[in-house]
């Protein structure tokens, strides 16, 4: 309840038109020369001191990528990306690798403070009611600080930058990296495999319930740097983990490319909850600038009765191309996708999910809430399929679109493929507009037009917000209000 009100306060306190996180940290950084070739791939690998097997893995991906063409089926339009005009590696110079917070560049800490990241352990610990959150902060390409590591280690949870895991847990990385999103998967995923910079690695041992929410904040800082995060999360038998990813980026004039890969693996009876709150710079009113995201996120319910749930709140970026998916391999496994996708201004969102039912008695649930405002285009694209052997597969899909204003578009593109006659797929979809009368009703009670819109939109997305951990639901509500600024009136 309080959260709605906070949303409203937030809307008031924010300077409309100014992207709140649009500042640039003044930190010297180390850049790879522009362009992409085998030399750059080797450079990245060498910068990270990677073992030969990792270098070869990257090179193989790079060679594969050369043979691929950029996909063009999504409902997004953008200038052609010049892959030779990007830097593929950038690292803050003063922070070559993870170290204790005392050694971290104070400018960097200030940057995070502006973003409101609870980086300092004390701050996190001080909040009595607040569940503790371990943060692995990624600044451009290199993880600079990892908190709570020791406490997690006590229960055997590994939570570290993936660049570190390559060295400390090569057997796990070798076994799982690329096992959900193969090197050959798609143009952007293959590119990521060749040049991925850093990201988080999580391993939860059998039977362990991760004692805290794990969280990574990504932030793009350097101009013209492609971001190629790579996240790998493994929940071993009977374990549980909740992982949160929050993203913001400073204002930039040129489009920045982001091609992340997230892989989740859930073994027997394990559960992974993965939540994203994304608020990257969306470009100015004319659609100039902003982040272009081509993201491959996929979970593999490898074990019986395993469970993976994706919750996403997507409010930023100029272009979003993202389909968090679940491969329901284990018998009785369950996949969930809860999504709030908001587009305003000139944003283009093409997002959805794939639920691939392979095992018996697998179930999936999709709740998607798309909100389009301004001149934006918002597409839900979903695939639900049941393999011929997936008897008893069940899916429920609910896709609601809300339109604000006359110039935006909402599109729903659901695909269903039932290869087994016993499959039961249910699909509901609605498209609605915020009615002038609803707005007036709220205004007649004292809310201004923007507060009223934020309140109604928060009501519209409530089912999904409830899936987020409490304190992130609050953050998400604030973002929703911020991202709808200027959409009414």
């Amino acid at each position: 309840m309080a959260a709605d009100l906070e949303t409203i306060e937030k809307v008031r306190s924010i300077d409309v038109g100014e992207y709140k996180y649009g500042f640039v940290s003044d930190i010297e950084s180390e850049l790879a020369p522009k362009g992409l070739n085998e030399g750059i791939v080797r450079y990245i690998s060498a910068k990270k001191n990677e073992p030969e097997w990792m270098t070869q893995w990257r090179l193989e991906a790079y060679r594969r990528w050369l043979t691929m063409v950029e996909p063009n089926w999504a409902r997004v339009e953008h200038d052609a990306i010049d892959y030779q005009d990007l830097h593929y590696y950038s690292a803050p110079k003063k922070s070559p690798g993870p170290k204790s917070l005392d050694e971290v560049d104070p400018e960097l800490l200030r940057t995070y403070a502006k973003l409101g990241i609870p980086l300092r352990e004390q701050e996190v610990l001080a909040g009595v009611e607040r569940p503790r959150v371990a943060v692995d902060a990624v600044f451009d390409s290199v993880s600079v600080a990892t908190t709570f590591k020791a406490e997690l280690a006590k229960v055997g949870v590994i939570f570290c930058p993936i660049s570190e895991a390559v060295h400390t847990h090569p057997e796990l990385v070798k076994k799982y990296l690329g096992s959900v999103v193969p090197v050959t998967d798609n143009f952007f995923a293959t590119l990521n495999s060749a040049v991925f910079s850093d990201g988080s690695f999580v391993y939860i041992p059998p039977g362990v319930r991760c004692p805290m929410e794990l969280s990574t904040y990504f932030r793009i800082n350097e101009q013209k740097t492609g971001q190629f995060e790579r996240t790998l999360i493994i929940a071993d038998k009977g374990s549980y983990v909740s992982y949160l990813e929050g993203c913001t980026a400073p204002k930039r004039d040129e489009n920045q490319l982001h091609a992340a890969v997230v892989e989740l693996i859930a073994h027997d009876d394990a559960e992974i909850k993965y939540s994203t709150v994304q608020n990257w710079y969306q470009g100015d009113a004319n659609g100039k600038g902003g982040i272009c995201r081509f993201v491959t996120t996929r979970g593999d319910c490898r074990g019986a009765q395993s469970r993976i749930s994706w919750t996403q709140v997507e409010t930023g970026s100029a272009i979003t191309w993202k389909y968090p998916s679940c491969i329901l391999r284990g018998d009785g496994s369950r996949g969930e996708f809860y999504s709030i996708a908001i587009s305003n201004g000139r944003q283009q969102v093409d997002s959805g999910t794939k639920m691939v039912h392979l095992g018996k008695n697998t179930t999936s649930r999709i709740i998607s809430k798309g909100i389009s405002a301004g001149h934006s285009q918002n597409t839900y694209r979903g695939l639900v399929s049941a393999h011929r052997k997936a008897s008893g597969a069940r899916n429920f899909t609910n896709c609601d679109s809300l339109l604000i204003g006359e110039n935006c578009g909402a599109h729903t593109v659901p695909y269903m493929e039932a290869g087994n006659p016993s499959a039961q797929f249910e699909h509901e979809a609605t498209t609605s507009k915020i009615s002038d009368d609803q707005l007036f009703y709220c205004q007649a009670r004292g809310l201004d037009a923007e507060e009223a819109t934020a309140l109604i939109v928060n009501g519209f997305v409530r089912d999904v917000l409830q899936q987020l951990p409490m304190e992130f639901a609050v953050e998400a509500q604030k973002l929703i209000a911020i991202s709808l600024e200027g959409s009414v009136g």
Binding site: M1, L5, C442, Q443, A444, R445, G459
Partner: protein, 249 residues
């Protein structure tokens, strides 16, 4: 307190109000009666600031403040409250959340402190109890799936919490059962005082038996065609509006 002078208004090119003049003094309960389509709801919407109407002439003043120049939320903060004839549903927004948002928004505009959450909850609970509104209902999304009578009661709950200077009740009695009518009337009567003005729109004497008006006005074809004391309502109850529809040219 509320002064409406020679108000002319139209919507989509159709003239609805034709030089309506009406004054309601502080502490007064004024009842408006009139045939369907005579413009009663239109009048209440224009006072509250619903977009879409074009006011071609006239003015609406609340304690000298020109309401027509103000945004609807500013009017609310200035003390105008409209209990809607057809309250709107706000899916996904818990009634409690809505009430707090409304109260805080008004407090902020007036530069007053927002009430603390425990105070707020106490106030809402108390007001709900007086109106025999189940506490469980406050957790449900506002008006979604509420019965007609429940919606009307919820309007009065909002009025009680927002404590307006001037309240318009647009057919709050329609859809209420006999017991609910009494409860709602008691709720309104409890708010009557020397400062607060009311404009009660109704078709039935029954409501006015409970909420005794100080004045009764007959509206027809977008203007006030007759004004009188409480007995005027009884007269209308018997004779209907036939006399007034003939009058209009």
């Amino acid at each position: 307190m509320l002064k409406i002078n020679n108000l002319h208004a139209e919507i989509d090119g159709k003239k609805i109000l034709n030089g309506l003049t009406l004054e309601v003094r502080a502490g007064e309960v004024a009842a408006i009666m009139g045939p369907n389509g005579s413009g009663k709801s239109t009048l209440s919407y224009i006072i509250a600031g619903r977009p879409g109407y074009e006011v071609t002439a006239g003015e609406v003043l609340l304690n000298g403040q020109n309401l027509l120049e103000m945004e609807p939320n500013a009017r609310a903060a200035a003390g105008v409250f409209l209990a809607f004839q057809y309250p709107l549903e706000i899916p996904g927004v818990a009634t409690m959340t809505f009430l707090k948002a409304a109260m805080n928004a008004q407090a902020r505009q007036r530069g007053e402190a927002e009430s603390t959450t425990p105070d707020f909850i106490k106030k809402v609970r108390g007001a709900a109890k007086d109106l025999k509104i189940d506490q469980e209902m406050l957790k449900r999304p506002l008006n979604v799936g509420f019965s007609g009578g429940e919606k009307k009661r919820m309007e009065i709950l909002q009025m009680a919490l927002l404590a307006p200077k001037f309240a318009i009740l647009d057919e709050t009695d329609s859809g209420l059962d006999i017991d609910a009518l009494r409860i709602v009337a008691d709720g309104v009567n409890a708010l009557r005082n020397r400062e607060r003005g009311f404009l009660v729109i109704t078709h039935y004497q029954r409501l006015l038996d409970y909420i005794r008006p100080d004045s009764v006005h007959v509206m027809a074809r977008g203007e006030i065609v007759r004004s009188g004391g409480p007995t005027l309502a009884l007269e209308l109850e018997k004779s209907g509006y036939a006399a007034y529809s003939d009058e209009a040219a």
